[in-house]
Symmetry: D2
Subunit: 376 residues, 4 copies
């Protein structure tokens, strides 16, 4: 099965390169009757798009989506939804100089090994430009989980370099805190801790000026998710979340709940004890703590889902680096493009999209296997 | 699509519970002509099995596999291979006392939320007993990758509690060092650093005596993997490795190469530079360092693949823990079963199996899309 | 994706050969709480089994199923169900004489072309013995569609040679008429027209005595199926029914409704006009006629689904036939096994099983995409 | 799994409606290096397109494809290929009059039953306009099978009403005979028997004038297909061909080889005997006759593949027909659109596309499982 499809029942299939006509996504499996518009899509596409602030790449793309099918009179029809986002800023500069060079940290060499052939203009299919398609599909997934069970996914930048955000409870972070500063201006680094955000911006700016880049981490929270989503063995929902995040460019690590912190814990410290909560008047079963990050046995428990992911520093650097050519001759390379000094601010909507897509998918799977649905 | 199948072209489907008749795996997509025997399967089943040493659970299972199909005259036929491992030690003790209790850290509550119904005897489908099926299938995957491209997968325990193994180069660890101590006796903790191994055993033993358990980490290395495996977008091989590992019980985190260490690195420090190596006389393209863990753009580079995973401390504890019943009434629970004080030693063959299965799968996918295969 | 799995959400995966230890099926995706027992499975396995009457093969197999997983206290748990049917009558006769011969009408040559290697004992994986697994899974599918929407699938023999059953309305045929004669004895040919049944039995017997075999046709009806099952484009339910039937051995043709009879009809004669029916007090929309066989645009209309399939005469013949050896040398072959002179009587439960599986699958798919399912 | 994807390794996913912006297909799994151009796509799109002759619908669509991705410097890159065909002739007439009426023979009622909601303009997703996407993808499949194994697929009209084409050997029909008349003009009915073609055209014309339509049959032949394609059990290649053809609009029956003719044959008459042929100097194994239509046990034998399919008369009729409204009230309907009086001439490229896609898919599957492919 080729690798351009993700999800089982809420299923996206994408195509597109950085320097081709555009990126397309077909979203399949969406129930009928969900309201969706170009404006809805634009919100997250704008959060992902280049040129949105001084700390991201200055390439220019308006990233206007066109809905080609599957929506009629403002609502999904239940049939496949195709969305096209055309590329605009495909500078006609000469790529021939890098055609035979392998950029360190990029997929140039591995693509050549795989296909014996590649679209060398700006990375082709390996460019993060393909994530426009994911972000557009993610908006539909977010709509679906909100309409069907009141679910919400919020991601934020929790670390850049050695600067960590101080966030008491990830589940309390609102989209507003991620997107806006206290003074109402855009929170360009998408870290909900204002003090950390300021220092992060300074660090990113410093790296940019030095012709360098910096890594970071994002935290993703899903709230309002009912207990019972996920499958017991291979399709544990934690496994699908991990696949979703690792499928994004530059992700080197994923953990949930206490994550790698479990390695030196004892069981008696680690287990989250069950109790009941009457916060919403339902006296429902909850856990006293959430080291399990909302999933046990690969199935949601109804507690907030909390994931954390490591994102490497941008590989494209304006400083000179050693490499080799296709035939193995030593060479140097210096990437002249306009690249992000830190990937995290634009990574946030991508991560949200992928987590929302997994939730939408497992929700539909849960509905399918649910006992007792009647015909009417 | 239900969740009991893993892989696209090398595909395994499993069934079975801890206290039912047994566990079954159907392995589909295996090319014809690969030698396989019950003895081959037994090797890794023995590495996974309970009762193998003093630091693992003392349950008794002989875990003898029966090959039901797909092998003729000692070789795979190309058709589906079914393997059955019967359960033996299903103690007829009374489970009714835990029938309505939710064990902390276990899938009891989430299963009830999902199915409204569960096989409460020892965890049913959520028991790690299902991994017998994976380990059996993993042996076939290991055979396939060895026969077709000389690949090898070796996992080892790299950390237990705060004791870390001192391993200079993960790619240099041999199966022999993982399985045997210097004196030829079994290396029961499966850590290739003898000094650390000794301390790990002592720590695990201490936890066991205290009625507690301890977490740890495993490192998995794949060697001899050709450059070019993996798909550019969703089925990046790193994403499939992550899904494979997170689908195992108790895994809370996965990273590869430098992993979470990338968060506070700069791009200039992080990028692995390309060069050539004449070590095997081929003057092939390699990288000077391996912070990328053998994968760029989600596709293998030919460098060793290095993954690391966090495994939580066993949830079942002989000490008393607070919990609730199905109807939310407060209760206490004390698990009387014979559980592992540390999951890591038996986790090693499971992790190897899953990584080998992903490699086998992507290898077959690579063959499918390879240009120029002739009919003969 | 390997070819031993069928269905998307109600999904079966099978393994097994004619002369190996047995046949296994893993049924995945079944909702929890559906009652199922070994006795339920046995009913249809007995309808399929050899030796059941004088007009079928006289091989002896008791075909006792063992449920290995997924059923607890008599009900499905929602996890994967494995069923094993062991082979018994694997006569230890010498197959070496046919090892290098290609039996006319069989898969010997095509298997060799595909795998370069085959289990030559009685056909191996190409033997119709694999349909035990399908029939067992079909029982679960029948239970599911009956429990969830009151659906029923009944197949019968509608033609043997040139003898056609006279059946006014296929939707009126009951299981009882298919299985029992007027005098209460077994209706061994499974044709609900008693006069035709008698003549069919005589014809089959005549062929058997002549060392020959005869073809025939089966009609399959599904009743109680709600309108709305099926997908608009590739997974039209008619396409999945056709795939299901063509996946059975010996099927050379499938049609539904008026079928090939449409070729020389005009649209004005062919269209079924919509009207309403108050037969069940619901004043529901129906069609006046059912040339469309219960499906329009690939989606069910609520009218009875009617399919017809052509089954070729058994290829194995006790008379001598010309053929070649693996190296192309001319040879003759005479199959000494105990074969069915007509495949149709035992084909009936296989066809029912496959149609029930498709209905169960599309029902679960319909549930997944249905708008407005609530969490509780 | 949603229903807008077809194929496993050569995989197409489509979206689009009759009256939306256009139709899109994403073709995934294509090996790199296959030459493909817009002109290549146009050839078959023109064979499918409306307005091409006097015996098809007179709607006007230029059906110009745009390749959005996956092709670089005239060759496939190995990544997903997206193709967009915009709709042009979406007459702005008022559909509100048919909004609540169920057209006989159409999917209006079944769509409403499924989705509770539909795009009523010209059928929406149920319109045969979606087949533009299939035909475009089919061109890539044809290229692939030709480049990789010299395969070719040719379909032709073999019957319209009671007029049958007289074709001695389907495998001898060339594309030229299907597309061109003896005088070099277009063979507008795509029947290779000139005398029958003339009578078919007259019959279609007569139906058109009468405000009626007529059914027919198509024969599809695949040549140059190596022995060994197909899977032994569920994914028998005959089953995938059948699913492919039944997924096309208006198909009511499919058969291969002798097809329904087998029903009253004896085994001794039916079996094709094996022999050898030295026609191409290879002394390869063939059968003396081809009643098996090139497939045994669901796997190709190397003999020509021959399929036949029944296509119903167009349901849309300019004459008045009885029906009901959504609420069940009696009504009449008269379709004023410009419809095909016979679907067959435009059906030919659709059928070819689907058969080529199945062959491409099984070819890639064969490559994946083939033993002994080396890395280089």
């Amino acid at each position: 099965m080729p690798g351009n499809t993700f999800g089982q029942l809420f299923r996206i299939t994408t195509a597109g390169e950085s320097h081709g006509p555009g990126n397309v996504v077909i979203v399949d499996g969406v129930p009928p009757g969900i309201p969706i518009s170009v404006d809805d899509l634009q919100v997250d596409l704008d959060r992902r798009k280049p040129g949105q602030s001084k700390i991201v790449t200055q390439r220019k793309e308006s990233d206007r989506p066109e809905i080609l099918s599957g929506v009629f009179e403002g609502k999904t029809t239940g049939t496949s939804i195709a969305i096209l986002v055309r590329n605009e800023d495909q500078r006609s500069r000469d790529y021939s100089e890098i055609k035979d060079l392998y950029r360190p940290g990029h997929a140039d060499y591995s693509f050549d090994a795989k296909y014996g052939f590649r679209d060398y203009r700006g990375g082709g299919r390996s460019s993060a430009r393909e994530t426009t398609a994911r972000v557009a599909a993610g908006v539909i997934a977010k709509k679906l989980i909100h309409e069907e069970f009141g679910g919400e996914v919020i991601a934020y930048v929790s670390q850049v370099g050695d600067i960590q955000a101080d966030v008491e409870n990830p589940a309390d972070v609102s989209l507003d805190r991620v997107e806006k500063s206290a003074d109402g201006s855009a929170n360009i680094v998408r870290c909900p801790d204002p003090a950390a955000a300021e220092r992060m911006i300074a660090l990113i700016d410093e790296c940019r000026k030095a012709g360098d880049s910096i890594g970071g981490a994002a935290t993703i929270v899903a709230k309002g998710v009912p207990a019972g989503l996920g499958e017991p063995v291979f399709d544990k929902i934690k496994a699908d979340f991990a696949k979703a995040l690792f499928s994004l460019p530059a992700v080197l690590g994923v953990e949930y709940g206490i994550g790698f912190g479990c390695v030196n814990m004892r069981g008696s410290q680690h287990n989250d004890l069950f109790t009941t909560s009457d916060d919403d008047g339902s006296n429902k079963i909850v856990t006293k703590s959430n080291r399990h990050g909302g999933m046990l046995g690969g199935i949601t428990t109804g507690m907030p889902i909390v994931l954390r992911t490591a994102v490497k520093p941008t590989s494209s650097l304006p400083i000179e680096q050693e490499t080799v050519t296709r035939d193995g001759s030593p060479a140097t390379i210096q990437t002249k493009g306009r690249h992000d000094p830190c990937l995290l601010p634009r990574f946030i909507p991508m991560a949200e999209a992928m987590i929302a897509i997994v939730l939408a998918d497992h929700w539909l799977r849960w509905k399918a296997q649910k006992r007792g649905t009647s015909v009417d």
